[in-house]
């Protein structure tokens, strides 16, 4: 097999190392599923994507997304990083407008925004939120998590977007950043409610971001996620539903990951429940070729 283009990209990142890393293998059409899985285990990043020609005429490209353990139908940060890799490699030539990604979850629109103020930012449209359920007294495991916390104004809720997340507001940014999560209790809550875990946020004043977020999914081996695409969309849906975006704004910026040595920047566009976009900058860290001879 000839060498094929390979990039390693940092997503939701204004500077290399701040965001969520991704490996992208272009021109992957002659790789088998087994080879893709072996490569994703070898690169050892949270996700590795493989770009293929689209099978649907409206799509610009097709992508398959693998963690080191398995293939997944869709995830936010791999979608943005893959679109970025294609733009950098000039396999897609667009300055503004929309790209259509074909993946296991269907056709996903990705919007390109370029302005004088910002470097190129990419946004994906998040899956629509299906339900928002307020915390009730009989949710024993959840109550034992939330009774420990200095909560803010809004009530904790279980929100179902593509996946289910518990969402809760912390009293202020300091309380959120200093929080020492009780992983055992969060894990029990997530198992009892068939959810990914817990997203905590706080509103922020006097910063260049309006929200600080931390996401915990210990039941899935992720103590804390450095930059969460889809989970931030469920927070936006919850804020929109509660009316809180009237003061925060429908376009707002999130800071995530500082507590674990990252410093991700995530931009949200949430004007309507069925039209929530999540995005940010991507940095090309490695640009080269992969030579996989097995």
């Amino acid at each position: 097999m000839p060498p094929r283009p390979y990039l390693q990209v940092d997503v939701f990142s204004k500077r290399p190392g701040c965001g969520n890393p991704l490996a992208v293998v272009l021109d992957a059409e002659d790789l088998t599923s087994e080879q893709m899985q072996t490569i994703a285990a070898w690169t050892n990043l949270v996700e590795t994507t493989f770009v293929l020609p689209p099978t649907q005429t409206t799509a610009d490209y097709r992508v398959r997304i693998f963690t080191p353990q398995r293939e997944i139908p869709f995830a936010g940060h791999p979608s943005l990083g893959t679109a970025h890799a294609l733009l950098v490699s000039k396999q897609i030539n667009k300055k503004n407008g929309e790209i259509i990604q074909e993946c296991g979850a269907g056709l996903i629109p990705i919007r390109i925004e370029t302005s004088k103020k910002f470097r190129r930012r990419l946004f994906f449209r998040a899956p629509s939120v299906k339900s928002i359920t307020l915390l009730t007294a009989d949710a024993t495991e959840a109550n034992s998590v939330f009774s420990q916390l200095e909560l803010g104004e809004l009530s904790p809720s279980l929100v179902e977007g593509g996946r289910k997340w518990w969402i809760a507001e912390m009293f202020d940014e300091n309380a959120l950043r200093n929080l020492k999560p009780d992983y055992v209790a969060i894990s029990a809550m997530s198992k009892a409610s068939d959810s990914m875990g817990l997203c905590m946020f706080s509103r922020c004043n006097g910063q260049d971001y309006q929200l600080a977020v931390r996401a915990f999914a210990p039941a899935f081996g992720i103590k804390e996620d450095p930059a969460s695409g889809a989970a931030n969309a469920t927070i936006a849906a919850y804020l929109l539903d509660s009316g809180a975006l009237k003061s925060i704004g429908n376009n707002y910026r999130v800071s995530q990951g500082r507590e674990i040595g990252h410093d991700a920047t995530i931009d949200l566009r949430a004007s309507q429940q069925d039209d929530i976009w999540v995005g940010g900058e991507c940095q090309t860290v490695i640009n080269g070729n992969m030579n996989w001879i097995d």
Partner: protein, 295 residues
């Protein structure tokens, strides 16, 4: 902070006859002006077991200088990063071996490297730090006995060896006993933590044309339940067999198979030379070649 944005970068697979069979390594070939913090941050980003940074030598005897980082800390020396870094430099034409020899400058000092063969048959070996037997106390023996509860033991006594890191080296009765072992990981955590060991390695002699030893290495206390291919553990095992004059049947030069139980298929070439020094080496595959932007 540097603005250099085109550092040459390779990611290779060490102790591997084909891509994906060995232990991955990221190598930054031009690391001048990267700070220690930037190196550590990049080693965290690659998430390889090790990332190395090549720098100009500070002494005339050295062929190259390297700093070695895991995602969490800097190491003075390690086997697979040394073999892979020498490969990356030879492959990129930045150095040439003199009479099959190179000298690596690293935090542990100047270490000799041997280069044999060409192209896909090239085998690079590094001399491992000299190993010694570490006696263990009676309370440790009880923990060891628990760990060995489900093992079918071989001829040599289980021994704690030090060649920088400390390794428990346990010979099992057969290749099948090694390959089918279900390690008692939580007991290994207790044993290795109580004895300051990095991990526990099991091995057995084999009767195949491909390899003469089978090895598995477990480091659950470092969150690595099983390491795919381990230079230092292989060196510790060779030193133990040499010390116990137990190499007669397989010889002073042999091949070890490691990693099949975790989906890899690594081969380590081991040699105990006339001075009793242990060399570990193997083939390396270049998987990724490109440019790095990191600032």
């Amino acid at each position: 902070m540097t603005t250099t944005n085109n550092r040459r970068f390779l990611q290779c697979d060490v102790f591997a006859d084909v891509a994906g069979a060995g232990n991955g390594l990221a190598v930054v070939l031009e690391s001048e002006n990267l700070s220690t913090e930037q190196m550590q941050a990049f080693a965290k980003f690659t998430n390889m077991s090790e990332t190395t940074f090549v720098l100009p030598t500070t002494t005339l005897e050295a062929s190259y200088r390297v700093r070695i980082f895991t995602p969490i800390s800097e190491l003075p020396f390690a086997g697979h990063p040394s073999v892979g870094t020498a490969h990356a430099l030879l492959e990129s034409g930045l150095i040439k071996a003199q009479d099959g020899k190179l000298v690596q400058e690293c935090a542990a000092g100047l270490l000799p490297i041997s280069v044999k063969g060409d192209g896909n048959n090239r085998c690079i070996s590094v001399r491992a730090p000299r190993a010694k037997v570490i006696p263990h106390a009676a309370n440790i023996q009880a923990l060891l006995n628990t760990v060995m509860g489900n093992m079918s033991l071989g001829g040599l006594s289980p021994t704690l060896m030090s060649n920088g890191p400390l390794w428990w080296c346990i010979e099992l009765a057969s290749e099948a006993a090694v390959r089918q072992l279900k390690p008692l990981l939580s007991d290994i955590v207790v044993l290795t933590q109580a004895s300051d060991a990095v991990g526990l390695a099991v091995f057995a002699r084999c009767n195949t044309s491909e390899y003469q030893l089978v090895v598995r290495a477990f480091c659950p206390a470092d969150s690595i339940p099983e390491d795919p291919v381990t230079g230092s553990a292989n060196a510790a095992i060779a030193a133990l067999m040499h010390e116990k004059q137990s190499l007669a049947d397989i010889g002073n030069t042999y091949t070890a198979s490691q990693g099949r139980e975790v989906g890899r298929n690594g081969f380590v070439q081991v040699q105990v030379d006339d001075e009793g020094e242990v060399w570990i080496g193997g083939k390396t595959q270049t998987v990724i070649e490109g440019c790095l932007s990191w600032n």
